[in-house]
Symmetry: C2
């Protein structure tokens, strides 16, 4: 990280909201926070505590109205996106930031919010495997990879892909040696006890159980997105 | 997860403290929170916000004094452990909980806190690769693996090992099918962009940069632990 002094300071804005999937951003946060000469902003509409979909509560540090233009705009996902897909103020904040950001990025279903703000049309992008078809409804060129880079758009797949995604961004910003040092610092040498992390490798029973548990949410989300797309 | 109704409710107590490494527990949190019929407690000395070593702020939900006996006691790590290694009230809370817990567990340098509380002597256990020799000072049988199970002690290695660790615990508690469904839900199909996540695979330069950056902290920690061990 000896090149820190030679780089300009970089700002990364992490946009959070109620019912976020917390690991979508806490994984990347750990990587980003170890970058040299980088300032993180945990952005939310207000400074009130934000509760994740599973109850973990965070304190944002900067309200949207006081956010500087950030170099990296990062939007995580989670069940809470459904309420934001039609939230004009929220989407306008993303659009405004995207005009000056060096990178516009997302993990998991955060890409659906970027698409709802019109920021992914004409780009290749990805999302959580359960929502790939929903991202396509927006006219985005969907690529079912773990991390997709298309010019200044960088998107990651579901939840834990955020760690891979953040290491890719770390290398983009500060080079591979810095990214590798961070990887070693967080001992990111994954050894999943099962080979069930993708619909390509999980058993049919496991896939069915996840699909069934999420069916109602995915159906509601599809209706919201179809309505948004019809109005465009 | 169809067997939820047939299992008794399980409680998992996650112990947090100032200057914790947040991903040590937010990774496992995401897994634990998806377990059927399971209640999580985010335990801290008080209900004041807890700030991580890199500035992320969390709201605990239960102070130590109001914690029920939990089935799974889970202690994450981070730079903040140094202040807790000699904190009698903190260590007493761990000891008391361990008397009735079904599993006593840690990720990263959380195992040093368990050892300081006398809860790992006579067990095989692991920790962050930078602190393996410090765990051995406590007389623990150190095993440099990503997840180590020894009877009712389950310990994980550095930071991101928490996800592997939590999936192992999910399988212990509710069986492999449940753990695999959670793995698929969080799309845990890791694809690190570099092969630098362990001192066995990182380059010498990368290892040196991480060791140099942590040298002062590790030296201080060693002094604290040597003092503790000398007094036992």
């Amino acid at each position: 990280m000896s090149n820190a002094e030679h780089n300009p300071a970089i700002s990364i804005g992490i946009v959070i909201f109620t019912n976020i999937t917390q690991l979508d951003f806490t994984g990347p946060y750990e990587v980003f926070a170890k970058l040299p000469n980088t300032k993180l902003y945990l952005l939310a509409e207000t400074l009130e505590p934000i509760q994740s979909d599973r109850g973990l509560r965070f304190l944002p540090d900067t309200p949207f109205a006081q956010s500087p233009p950030v170099d990296v705009l990062f939007v995580p996902g989670g069940p809470g996106i459904d309420a934001k897909l039609e939230d004009r103020n929220f989407l306008d904040f993303l659009k405004t930031q995207a005009q000056t950001a060096r990178y516009v990025t997302s993990v998991c279903t955060g890409s659906l919010l970027l698409a709802a703000a019109g920021l992914l049309q004409g780009y290749r992008a990805t999302t959580h495997w359960l929502s790939l078809d929903l991202l396509a409804l927006f006219g985005v060129e969907v690529v079912p990879q773990r991390v997709v880079i298309d010019r200044d758009r960088i998107t990651g797949g579901g939840v834990t892909s955020g760690i891979d995604f953040a290491l890719v961004i770390a290398a983009e910003l500060y080079g591979e040696a810095t990214a590798q040092s961070i990887q070693l610092g967080i001992e990111y040498n994954p050894q999943p006890p099962f080979n069930s992390g993708s619909p390509q490798t999980a058993t049919d029973n496991v896939i069915d159980s996840v699909k069934t548990a999420s069916q109602n949410r995915q159906d509601r989300r599809r209706q919201i997105i179809q309505k948004i797309v019809a109005q465009q």
